[in-house]
Each structure stands twice: as C-alpha cells, then as structure tokens.
C-alpha cells in the first residue's frame, strides 16, 4: 500500500469537475483508492463520496492506494494534484 499527503490547490476545492477527473482516473486503475480528510473517508471511485468530503482549497488529504498498479496510480494522482495547483 502507498500512502501520501496532498494539499488541494484547485480553486474552490474538490467540486464536481475536479472530483470527476479523479474518479475517471480511479476507474481506469486496478487499485483501491481511498481519500481521507480528518476522520472522514471517501472511495476514489465515488464522485459523491469525494464531493461530500467537503474538500476546500488549501485542505490536506491523505491518499491511500492499494493494488497491483498502485505505484503507477499514485504517480498519476500526484501529478493530477500538482497540475491543478
């Protein structure tokens, strides 16, 4: 399992559009992706789960990825957060 932290820099936080991007990426992977904000968790495949985390710009998230392609997926998701900053 890979675990890392990201700071969300997307303007307005993880609203529908950025959440959809993340979900699309998650759907292509073989791994289980979990986003944690404080004590709340969301499945990386669930757009509503991600949206209801209520992630604002500047929030920190812990991302856990577990599965056969975890390294590849971890890299892609980190890129995604950096690219949108």
């Amino acid at each position: 399992m890979i675990e890392f932290q990201v700071t969300v820099m997307v303007e307005g936080g993880l609203h529908a559009r950025p959440a959809a991007l993340l979900v699309n990426r998650a759907a292509q992977s073989q791994s289980k992706i979990t986003l944690n904000k404080g004590d709340k968790q969301a499945d990386g495949r669930s757009i509503l789960g991600i949206m209801t985390l209520g992630v604002a710009q500047g929030d920190h998230l812990t991302v856990q990825i577990e599965g056969s392609d975890e390294e590849h997926v971890a890299w892609a998701i980190q890129q995604m957060f950096h690219a949108s900053s």
Partner: protein, 570 residues
C-alpha cells in the same frame, strides 16, 4: 391574485400546465415479500434508461445551449457510475428486501441532507442535482414516461421548482410563461427565461401549487410579478387590452428599430441597455439596442464560494464584447457591499452597508482582486468595443489610484505580449452627491460620466429606497437631484466629455424630454422600455426639450416637477 418575484418582463395569457413529479414523499408501505431478484433487474433497467435519456439530453443541450449548460448533465451521468450512489441502492435492495424505488429514495435522501448541511453554497446547490437524478430513476422505475408531456399549444408552465435538466427540456416554442413557487432571479430557469424573452415570475410560495390547476386560464405579468388564476371577465379583458397594447407597441417599435434616437431637429443621442448576465446578450443584440450602458460584473461573484479567476472573467467579458461587435459595452467593475451575500469575498455584516465598505472601496483595498478584474477586462477589450467604468467614486484620489492600477495592468500585458485595446475608454459612475458637485474636477480625468440615479437619489435625499415607510420621499424628480444631474452634464460638456444615465430614470418616458433638454448624451435602461424612450426623443426638438428643462429647474417641489412634466407630455 398571487404575487411573486418578477424575473422576466412581459404579459402572458394562456392555460396553465403543471409540471408534476412523482412525489417522492408518497411512501408506499414496505412490502415484506419483495422479489429481490426482480427488483434488481428493474433497477438496472431504470439506471440504463436514465443514462440513455441523460446522454441524449446532454447532446441536445450541447448543440442548443452550449457546453457550459451540458456540463450539468455530465455531472448527473457521473452519479450513475458512482458505487456510493447506485451501488448503495443495490445493496439496500438486497440486504433489506425493499423495492427499488424505496432504495433510490433512501440513498438520495442521505446525500441530499449531506449536501444541504454543508456550509458551501455551491455544495448546497448540489442537493438539487441529486433530487433531479433520483426523480428520474424513480419515474423510470414506475414505468411512467419520464419525458413530461407538454401540450402542442401555447401554455404557461407552473411548477414547484424546476430542476436544471427540466429547464433544458422545455418545448421553448410553446412556453409563454414560467411560474414557480420556489426560486428567484438568479435560478437557472430565471436566466433562461430572460435570455429567451419568456415572461416569468418566481418565488410565489406554496399557494401557487394549492391554487393553480392544469388547464385553468392564467394571466402572468412578468413586470410586476402578478398572477391571476382563472381571472374574472373584467381582469381578463383588462389584461387582454394590456397585452394587445404591448404587442402593438412592440410592432411599432419594431418598425422604429433601425431608426436613430434623433430629435426632429437632428440632435442624436445614444440609446443603450443595462444588462445583468451575459446570457441576455444575444436577445439584446437582436432588439436593435445601440450598445450596453451598464453591464454589472457582480454576476460573476454571486452565489459562489470561490472568486472567479482571470480566465473565467476574461471569457465572460469577451463573450459580451464580441456579441456586440463594434457597439459599445460599458462594464462596471465590482460593485457590492455588505448587503449582498458574497461568500467568496467574506465581507462583514455592516450596520450601514450603503455607506460602508463597498464597490471601488473594496477594489482598492484588495488590489489583488482588482488587478485580476482589470487584466481580464483589458484582455477582453481586444475583442470588441469595451469601456471600463468605476463605481462609487467620491474622492479624486480613488479615481487616480484606479487609473494607475489600470495602467499597471496594461504594462503587465504589454510585457507579456498579450493584446488589448491601448486606447480603452475609462469613465466613472456619478452616484455620490459630493462627486456630482465636484464634477468639473473629475471631468478632466475621465472620458465619460454615467449618472446612477438609483443611488444618487438615496444619497442626496438620505432615503433608503428599500424602506417602505419612507418610500414616498424617494424621487428622482426632486429639485436637488435635478440640479445635481444638470451640474454633472454641464461640467462634462465644458470638459469635452459625454454623460450617460443608467438608473431607472433613463427608462422613464416621463423624464425623457427633461433629460434630453438637460443635455444628456446617453440613456441606459431596461431594454424593454427603451423603445418608448426612443419614440419620445423622435417626437420632439432639442430646442423644445431645452426650454422644458430650463423651466423644470426653476420648480421647487417634486409635485410641481411631476405635474409640469405630465402637462407637457400630454
């Protein structure tokens, strides 16, 4: 009679058609022996059917209304792929042996209350999207055709509220009016109604659904917010007359559409319109208006938790500038204060917001915010005839500082090699009595003035226009207001610049000759009333108007002024 918020003007008389949803609150008794396997199959079918409908609607919306509106439907489609939504519904059917519709409602309710409890406005509004999708699922489950059947004849749509996807599905050619119990001037439906020129009244309240039935005749007055359900003969004939008059006027104005706003003796003025949201641009261009005298940039900042970035602002301004081509579009920089709910700006509540931290005062105190707006405006100026206007200037220093920031933004863009209109015209609002008295000094440093009578009256007479107790004191015919207006126009002409007026007074036909005589160069009001103003201008001479204005300035009460103007126009 019922009343609501007038959202889109015009009179409409047509049968009501109620948009009814399968009421999700009608709880069926939980059947103990549900055939789980069958429910799962039905559920899958309903999801598939919903997906097809949304796909088709998205394609159609993209073609007819553009990708921005279609994105709403993409979000709805994403919910159908969501394990926490659809997956959860399935496992509820299995684990609790409940029927599919009940499972949809249970899961949807959870998300609706989750979204509604969030403190972000954007997220709270997402509850509507969940409602929208779950209604569709339930309708498809019940085998009910989810495409609402609208009559083939003209009708007025009556609804509790209208979801975004329902708005996009309306048979526009037959919709003569829209009335809703909920909602307000900034809802999806309101914006659409305005952009299509359909009369609309919203926020009528619960009585609407209690009193209005499908098939009954309805009168809707989109200018006053009044509704008459199954009107008596007198009311009906009164409104039929009014509607006929409106139609006749429209025709007469149509004939005048391409004629200039020119007096009999050849004095030409500009007739332009006020605009609140960019969606109105296309209808306005078609109406033959000569440009936009006031485009409020506030719409970009309302009802959202984040500030619009430079790109988003640029796109919005560019869209408007290019829609009008070589016709002028005056965009006013942000004009808000503590009286408006603007989560993105986190403004404090104030006891006296109209005398407080607002408009240019905010822009100058938050240069980062102002800079983004100025850069976006400049970039958009390369795509049309764009003018910049600063609101609520009271001190010359504010004007100088604003212009310095504009110059700064210009040199940034120059260095970055981004094109813009080097000679962009800059003006200011004249809405504070102090500035009006000092108009000669300001006139040397701007290229135009625009008098905002709505605020000018409030500040000159110390009358809060929202306070019903003192509403009778509020009048732009007050001699002091007229003197200020006259002073501003004269000062501008001495300095060789022009003056416009963008308050309600500009669209009041009773004031047209007076303003013309005072020397006003540009009239900017609601597009719907401007043809009437044009007719007044075309039926007088500048000399007559000047005499009328000179006499009006000698009168000493509101009553005298109004009586004089009425006598003169009749």
């Amino acid at each position: 009679m019922l009343t609501g918020i007038p959202v889109s003007h015009g009179i409409s008389i047509a049968p009501a058609v109620r948009l009814t949803h399968t009421t999700p609150t009608a709880q069926k008794p939980v059947v103990a022996s549900v055939d789980v396997a069958r429910e799962l199959v039905l559920f899958d079918q309903s999801v598939e059917q919903t997906r097809e409908q949304l796909d088709q609607l998205r394609e159609q919306t993209n073609l007819q209304l553009g990708p921005e509106k279609a994105a709403i439907l993409s979000a709805h489609l994403a919910f159908l792929e969501d394990p926490a939504f659809v997956g959860e519904m399935k496992s509820l059917i299995e684990s609790q042996s409940i029927d599919a519709a009940a499972a949809v409602e249970q899961v949807a309710d959870q998300f609706i209350s989750l979204f509604e409890s969030m403190d972000d406005d954007y997220m709270r509004e997402r509850a509507d999207d969940i409602r929208d999708v779950s209604r569709r699922l339930v309708r498809n489950l019940s085998g009910e055709d989810s495409s609402v059947y609208y009559p083939e004849e003209p009708f007025i749509l009556v609804a509790w509220d209208i979801t975004p996807s329902e708005t996009l599905q309306l048979p526009i050619q037959n919709v003569r009016g829209i009335v809703t119990a909920k909602g307000g001037a900034t809802s999806h439906a309101a914006i659409l109604a305005r952009s299509l020129g359909i009369p609309a009244v919203m926020g009528v309240g619960e009585q609407l659904m209690a009193e209005v039935d499908s098939g009954g005749l309805l009168i809707l007055d989109g200018a006053t917010g009044e509704l008459y359900n199954q009107p008596d003969r007198d009311t009906l004939s009164r409104y039929q007359e009014k509607a006929a008059l409106e139609a006749a006027e429209r025709q007469a104005y149509e004939a005048m559409r391409d004629l200039p706003a020119e007096t009999v003796d050849g004095h030409r003025v500009q007739l332009v319109a006020n605009m609140a949201v960019p969606e109105e641009a296309d209808t306005l261009v078609e109406s033959g208006i000569e440009g936009i005298g006031l485009f409020r940039s506030e719409f970009l900042f309302m009802d959202r938790s984040s500030l619009p970035d430079e790109e988003e602002q640029f796109q919005a301004y560019k869209r408007v500038a290019s829609a009008f081509g070589d016709k002028p579009v005056i965009i006013r920089t942000l004009d808000v204060g503590g009286d408006k709910h603007l989560p993105a700006l986190a403004l404090a509540q104030e006891d006296n917001p109209f005398l407080g931290f607002r408009a240019i005062r905010i822009s100058l105190a938050r240069p980062a915010l102002f800079r983004v707006q100025l850069r976006a405006l400049l970039r958009a100026s390369a795509f049309g005839q764009l003018l910049i206007m600063f609101p609520m200037i009271s001190h010359l220093e504010q004007l100088r500082e604003s212009k310095a920031m504009l110059e700064q933004a210009k040199s940034e863009l120059r260095e970055e090699g981004i094109s813009f209109d080097e000679n962009i015209t800059v003006g200011m609002m004249m809405e504070i009595p102090g500035a009006c008295l000092q108009a000669d000094a300001f006139a040397k440093e701007v290229q135009f003035f625009s008098i905002g009578t709505n605020d000018l009256v409030q500040y000159t007479l110390a009358v809060d226009r929202m306070n019903g107790e003192i509403a009778d004191l509020y009048s732009y015919y007050h001699p002091a207001v007229l003197r200020l207006i006259s002073n501003v126009i004269e000062a501008s002409h001495r300095a060789g610049i022009w003056t416009g007026l963008c308050g309600e007074m500009a669209g009041d036909p009773l004031a047209t000759k007076l303003l013309l005589g005072l020397g006003l160069d540009e009239f900017s009001g609601a597009a719907s009333v401007m043809p009437k103003v044009k007719e007044r201008i075309r039926s007088t001479t500048l000399e007559q108007a000047k005499q009328l204005a000179a006499h009006a300035l000698t009168l000493s009460t509101v009553e005298d002024v109004v009586r004089f103007l009425k006598d003169e126009t009749e």
